[in-house]
Homo-oligomer: 400 residues x 2
């Protein structure tokens, strides 16, 4: 498990009580980063500073990340404190401050514990290393309500070169990513690293067409956070297109698989989640499809019915009706697994027991045919989870 | 407790197991009805038939209502069955079918049990009567997950006349009314009756400016039902404006109070609700105010924090940021009760313990000043509730 020219560390800096809470990714050579941030107007100071740094320089050298504090809405000096930390870290590593990026996750409104972070930088740097253990220490340092560190790794041999893709992520609640390339987005943090030789244009293509859409296609609780960040970094930049068309297409597929695998890890470790549901909208313009899918994905009544395997499909049909999508409700067909529960907008009189059996699975699909057969779009997919008492338990006492 | 020329009954018709489930309001004289229905594209057959009847005739004579079945998406003959029930009921009461209105609430997708209803019509009619007992029997017949019948009554003496206002309602889940005058809307059912002398124009004014806005200003779970209905009826119609300006204004206030009282009953009896929160948006255009208020009102993270009295105000500020409202996040000020937790978009460093004390109350206010001081609108108010494990419990097993 490695990325060329890339070292990791994760330590306990005392931001949280006796837990990993501060992490560092250090690139031994200048590396290229393409970033996507939350669209939430409320932005973490970490995002504001990272954006500023990315504008100043064409390459980066390290990313410092913390859990236990969102570094958001925490006083007027929040940006200054963040810049100071970058500056001290840069001096210690003999870098420019703008070669440092920052990511944070935790409670909004509490100031970043500057002294704790500064006094632990030496320890953080001396802990840098390669290998699975160091990578998992970093993954642990960014966990909040996550129960497991989330890492996906692929080592690949292509025709013209071999290389590695590594993705480290966190996020269990406040998850409804709505990321925008080079704009701000909430507490999903994604570090997607590679040592494949890529040019910036290809990185941007990957980000726009594969990475951002994949991370925007799921919701745990419908709450888009002010901290959501994807940093996509290659340690192996090229000024020209070296990896050619056919091989790039193959690489695109591998990146897609890595992103999908990490999304799956995020979903299944979501706060109080006991099952994952894929919503597929067919025969619909993409705008309508998105409205229908997100209304279903975020409906409390649907999510609680999923939880109890309650075959109450009327709630799904009702979501179609209130989604503001431009649809003919009498043309809607709905399947839960292989069972068609709605035919032309009304009951297909399937036995509840059959549907319940399907809904008891840890994963199942809902297919909505919106009936617009003139529309030649590919089906639109969106993932959601159930809503359990444990989610309520976790989130009614988060700060307490 | 009475409305002139108006009788009530509620019986156990066997739609549900040994519970009141069928109700009738009978007007001994032709009465005038103004209606508002859900905006959900999925419509109950009861709404489709009621709309049809209201278009045919200038007056109505009775309203039949049931719980235990939403009469929605329950087969292609659903409208026919509903019309048949109206026809038989009309014959028995010597009325025209179009003088009958219908309202239903319960599970979507199950056919209306026609035989049970038809065979109980004689019993329903013979049970008609006046007085508190009969009114509460009707109120019981429309309950689903409601734990209490909801009735508000005012007997008023104005300068030129005396009269009565009676409001009977139900609704505990699938509650985010989005009603539209003479359009369709979900399972909140409201029967607002009066014997004050009014003309149709005044009724429509009341509906548009007081009744619909009041019932659209709260959410329990963000799910707008396909059955939401308000029937506003006077047994005392006038062709001309009789109640003059000043007295009408006074009457408007009384109607407003009655609607607000019943909304309060709906909120506090919401599924699993332990507290009610009023969200007030100041210094904001109404469109932005509505976006902010509804994003906060329907956020799982905010609602669970309310439940646990968790002073996690960052979630409220984050909702402002992701609401799609056109705001300057650095001008946002937020109060929880009397405590200002956010000042100009960042923490005001109030002690958590003070805020927690406020949030432990059964009712408290959140004030958001959106900072648009050029805007001279009145503050926008919206009510919401907390989200408890009991809500999850109720709704994961609703149909099971």
């Amino acid at each position: 498990m490695k990325i060329k020219d890339c070292k990791f560390s994760g330590i306990k800096a005392g931001i949280k009580k006796d837990k990993f809470d501060l992490g560092l990714i250090y690139f031994t050579e200048p590396s290229t980063c393409v970033a996507a941030f939350t669209k939430n107007l409320l932005k973490s100071n970490s995002i504001i500073v990272s954006e500023r740094h990315l504008k100043k320089t064409g390459h980066i050298r390290c990313i410092i990340a913390n859990s236990g504090c969102a570094n958001t809405a925490c006083g007027n000096d929040g940006i200054d404190i963040t810049e100071q930390i970058c500056k001290v870290l840069a001096e210690k590593l003999n870098l420019l401050p703008e070669e440092v990026l920052v990511a944070s996750t935790g409670v909004i409104g509490e100031p970043l514990p500057k002294e704790k972070i500064l006094s632990n930088l030496d320890h953080l740097i001396s802990s840098l290393g390669t290998g699975k253990g160091k990578i998992f220490n970093f993954a642990r340092a960014i966990m909040t309500t996550d129960t497991k560190p989330k890492v996906v790794y692929k080592s690949l041999k292509m025709k013209s070169q071999k290389g590695n893709i590594l993705c480290i992520a966190k996020g269990a609640g406040m998850i409804a990513p709505d990321l925008c390339l080079n704009k701000q987005h909430a507490t999903m943090l994604v570090f997607l690293l590679t040592d494949f030789l890529l040019c910036r244009e290809q990185m941007e293509q990957l980000m726009q067409h594969i990475i951002v859409p994949t991370f925007n296609s799921f919701s745990i609780d419908g709450d888009t956070s002010p901290n959501d960040t994807i940093f996509f970094v290659t340690t192996n930049i090229s000024n020209n297109v070296i990896v050619k068309d056919k091989e790039f297409k193959e690489l695109v597929e591998h990146f897609k698989i890595v992103c999908e695998e990490i999304v799956w890890k995020l979903l299944s470790d979501g706060e109080g989640v006991t099952k994952v549901i894929k919503i597929i909208i067919k025969n619909s313009e993409s705008k309508n499809a998105e409205k229908i899918a997100k209304t279903i994905a975020n409906s409390l009544l649907v999510k609680t019915a999923f939880h109890g395997a309650d075959p109450n499909w009327g709630r799904i049909l009702s979501c179609c009706g209130r989604s503001n999508a431009n649809i003919d409700i009498n043309k809607i067909n709905i399947w839960i697994g292989k069972h068609q529960v709605v035919k032309n907008g009304t009951s297909n009189f399937v036995k509840d027991s059959l549907v319940r059996k399907e809904m008891k699975k840890k994963f199942f699909e809902i297919i909505i045919d919106a009936g617009n057969t003139y529309c030649k779009n590919l089906p639109y997919s969106f993932f959601t989870t159930d809503l359990s008492k444990e989610y309520v338990e976790i989130n009614s006492q988060y700060k307490t």
